[in-house]
Symmetry: C2
Subunit: 290 residues, 2 copies
């Protein structure tokens, strides 16, 4: 394993910085080199001890056993092509992008047998290396979506890296990943953004504040997420987000119709189904966390 | 104040039980009598020391200075009329229902000058006296919606009661209350129920679990709420929930259209507005909590 312990992390924000912190704590990497377009982020990452050293992209990548791409989703297609050209033949490349289909296709098209597309199901509405924490991925799942050309030992190495960060690795094909996260992540974020904007149209914060309970506060937390990131997610996963949104709108129209007709027992039937499914889902999640 | 310290709490579940616990801790009530259709709940409330004694509705109400109705929303119209007949002339009646228009109207129609409609903006997806806790209302707002016939000293007494439970009392007219909670509470609950049911239609819990992040978990928490309660809420506030749902659907259709047209910059504009409003709202809420 020694040969795989020179790490380059491209993008030392919340995600890259947290992975660095976790791997540092686990003693997984012999040396972690950080790359970032923002000198202040690099300096913060270095002064917090997340990375050993800051270098330019070419130098960092050329010398690494594993390269982790942790920059915004929209930058990943070009970055992946560039890093693939600069990395050593045996080097493993992985990423943290929230949509996997387009990236897996690039990896396939470029013949990158050592690129392992990845997506940690963790994050926060905060950003930057100042928010990085070693336990961000602990107990969370990380989806890896190898393609038909991905080398098995490359998958094993990336799996070992995430295991060191105490994450649970799950394999899926890129299409299944993108379809499911459209429902479990992308749609809920869109709903939260939409709900916040609807509130804005209705009343001022000072009037609304006393009427906000913990349910809405928890729901709106994800509306604090980075708009740029979510622009990129929408662009990268429009194929599956579109149908998920349409299905949600259709379901909402049914509930709205029941409300208008005064069919409150019918509504309760939906609530009962929803609650039962949520209970099953939470049980399943809790099982996975053990 | 001594004369107002014999309390009857009708419904000793999560809400009534938590109020009892808080008032007990504050030494506000000289004696707390519990009423509940469920003998097991009464026994649990008594054994946990939430109430001093369990009695029938008539006996409890006839002897009380303040009667708090903490039963499901759907039971409140009949219960209010019944309690108003049985209570002493000087006794104050209040409730915890999530929709205030219909109850305020009944209070007005019955000429109840000492009925103060109320709604604590707190709760939990759990229920029953076993979940009751003394700090459920601490730092939370309680909306009181007196009508034109409500006596001012009755409002003051209910305000003092909630202050003893460390809640922040805010006055509003019933219509404003119902319009605002349609947006801040009722709509988000409907969205969470709808999202959970949509997930159920898409995949099984075991397949979905690894794809669920903390954002969705937090959002779905309110889909664990009592379906019966939410049936009642929908029935009591259909007037305002209907338009809120329609406005949300319209907004979602706009986002969906932008997604379909590939207008990702336009989407980002919405996300940016939403995020900014959320930040303002959270700041306002934090201010209120100081």
């Amino acid at each position: 394993m020694r040969a795989q312990r020179r790490l380059a992390i491209v993008g030392v924000g919340l995600m890259g910085g947290s992975l660095a912190a976790a791997l540092r704590e686990a003693g997984f990497a012999e040396r972690i080199v950080g790359v970032d377009a923002d000198p202040a982020a690099l300096e913060e990452a270095r002064s917090r001890g997340l990375i050993d050293e800051a270098r330019g992209l070419e130098a960092a990548v050329g010398d690494a056993d594993i390269v982790v791409l942790a920059t915004p989703l929209g930058t990943l297609p070009d970055l992946l092509a560039c890093v693939a050209r600069g990395a050593a033949p045996e080097a493993i490349i992985t990423d943290m992008g929230s949509a996997k289909g387009p990236l897996a296709a690039i990896g396939r098209d470029l013949g990158l047998a050592r690129y392992v597309p990845g997506h940690p199901m963790a994050g926060s509405e905060c950003s930057g290396p100042a928010s990085a924490r070693a336990d961000l991925f602990a107990g969370r799942s990380v989806i890896l979506t190898p393609t038909e050309i991905t080398a098995e030992d490359a998958v094993d190495s990336v799996r070992a890296m995430w295991a060191a960060a105490h994450a649970r690795v799950v394999l899926a094909d890129p299409t299944t990943h993108d379809r499911l996260v459209a429902y479990t992540s992308h749609l809920p974020h869109l709903l939260a953004f939409a709900c916040a904007e609807l509130l804005a149209a209705e009343e001022s914060p000072v009037v609304l504040a006393p009427f906000v309970g913990s349910g809405l506060k928890d729901f709106l937390r994800i509306a604090g997420s980075d708009p740029l990131m979510w622009r990129d997610v929408c662009a990268a996963n429009a194929t599956f987000l579109g149908p998920a949104l349409a299905a949600f709108a259709e379901h909402l129209a049914r509930l709205s119709d029941q409300l208008a007709r005064g069919d409150f027992e019918g509504l309760m039937g939906h609530f009962t189904n929803a609650r039962a499914f949520r209970a099953d889902l939470m049980r399943e999640i809790a099982n996975g966390e053990h």
